[in-house]
Symmetry: C2
Subunit: 319 residues, 2 copies
């Protein structure tokens, strides 16, 4: 594999992926967030989370998507907050959200009951704490994080939005040097259809079987590491279904992009086993049965490993 | 367009689409539901809602999807319930759900606050009724519907699950004759990859650009109308982005499948304008500014139109 050239990738990004309309407004929010937390001496992590939508038509009815509930990104955000980080949470619209993710499987209305006070139109409605376990504690923590302005949510839906917002956030966090971390957990499409090749209208099934030709998505990790945030601590994720090629692919990614770590995982076992691969080390993180019985999550171990490595990285750069 | 042969479509369904493991359990639930409400003289509608997932790999990382939040299906279910129907709600996992859909845009935790009573671990949590407007009224109605067993939710994710569950429900509701209605609002893929053509593992981007060849999905409306529920009142939906071909396509569908009505709509205007097309009539339903200011939804008008037509259909068959 030849090394991707960072400059040409940046050029392709501008030429072939529509810039989302909210990128300037979001950039302003991210800049203020980075400046405030940087001034307070806080580390800042950008977490990407959820899958990307790749439209097949300009007026989109159909799209290609990547399997991802956003669970890993959302739970990791909570552990980074617990470790004192400020978090920019760049996530797919409607994917899981920190704290609220704990109740995503419950129909809200099954978790509520009508209370004793109030009349017909203003009757009190209270939470059924059996249906929404630990809700009081979770709500208190959520409100703390919100009050202290430690979590900045940013949404994307399409691949284009993801790429442009990631670029904007990388340029913003680049100003924080080694104090910035990138935790790129989103499931990003490897393939797309350039706007110029896309039909305007819904593809008609009466035209017969469908042939789709997709181009390869530029490897945005390359300009991120080289140009936009060269001093930051950067972690990418590698998800495979075939265990035999996983670690080899993780090592190749580190060779190619020269970033700090790859979190490697396999689809079927991703909630109980990951390997954190760095240029010199390889750490297996395993969720034991005992962990599971105590409701420990693998993301707590991943975040603990990486925040430790980040601290070391910062002190080396300072020293 | 040649007429699809119902029997061959049914055969293809068995041969090329994996049968979901929960189909028998769901069929039993649906049978009991249909029997109970049929005996009570109630009309029963099957609503399909949300998009279908079409996997590109057997161990699925990537899939093709159809744009659909499930809003139309979920809101229509409420109006059918208001009209006295019992509802089987065959919907995409995590798509919008009746009643709860009204709060889908709100982070649950932003709608709650810590109450005055209880200690640290069992503190009361109450709903903020400004964040979740009308929650008391909505909750009361949701609980009524649940108590009376009027709404049977059934979930699908993939196209295969959708097709097999629709077949099972059609065979069940076929026993109710003209009292059954099918309201097929789901956004179903027209294309799929047969299991035999699918790679097992995640497609590798290092292999270069991606070519996808998709076959056409069998038109399940054909055996549904001809074989499974020949006396039922059947409504299909047609969504286009190109207004100029819409009505023509709706009429062609009626000619081909010989069902009772097509609800035709255009992507950009679907919340304010639809045309209900039957073999002899064509009714434009429009949401006026006045309607919108009163929070009337277009689904109320669609359901009102169709339940009227269904009543007429039943009395003709009885007479």
């Amino acid at each position: 594999m030849s090394k991707p050239r960072a400059a040409s990738i940046d050029g392709k990004l501008s030429a072939e992926f529509a810039v989302p309309s909210h990128v300037d407004a979001v950039t302003e929010l991210m800049s203020a967030f980075a400046e405030r937390h940087g001034a307070a001496g806080r580390r800042v992590v950008l977490i990407t989370s959820g899958g990307t939508k790749v439209p097949l038509e300009s007026r989109t009815v159909r799209f290609l998507d990547n399997f991802s509930s956003g669970r890993r990104g959302a739970s990791s955000a909570e552990y980074f907050l617990d470790c004192g980080y400020a978090v920019i949470f760049l996530h797919r619209h409607r994917s899981l959200y920190p704290y609220a993710r704990l109740y995503a499987g419950v129909n809200l209305l099954d978790g509520l009951r009508l209370g004793g006070s109030g009349g017909c139109t203003d009757q009190e409605v209270v939470v059924d704490q059996e249906a929404l376990p630990k809700i009081g504690r979770v709500l208190r923590r959520y409100q703390e994080v919100k009050r202290d302005g430690l979590l900045l949510p940013v949404e994307f839906s399409t691949l284009s939005e993801y790429l442009h917002l990631l670029k904007a956030s990388a340029q913003v966090l680049g100003t924080l040097g080694s104090k910035a971390m990138f935790y790129l957990a989103a499931a990003v499409s490897d393939f797309y259809i350039p706007a110029s090749d896309m039909p305007e209208h819904k593809i008609q099934s009466s035209n017969g079987p469908l042939q789709i030709s997709m181009k390869m998505v530029p490897k945005i990790l390359s300009p991120l590491v080289k140009d936009w945030a060269p001093q930051a601590f950067v972690i990418s994720f590698k998800l495979e279904t075939d265990t035999s090629i996983l670690l080899d692919k993780a090592r190749k990614a580190l060779d190619t992009y020269r970033h700090q770590a790859v979190v490697a995982n396999v689809l079927d076992t991703r909630r109980g086993y990951v390997v954190v691969v760095t240029p010199d080390t390889q750490a297996e993180l395993i969720l034991t049965d005992e962990d599971a019985s105590k409701e420990v999550e693998i993301e707590e171990k991943i975040v603990s490993n990486l925040t430790g490595a980040h601290a070391e990285f910062i002190s080396k750069q300072d020293g």
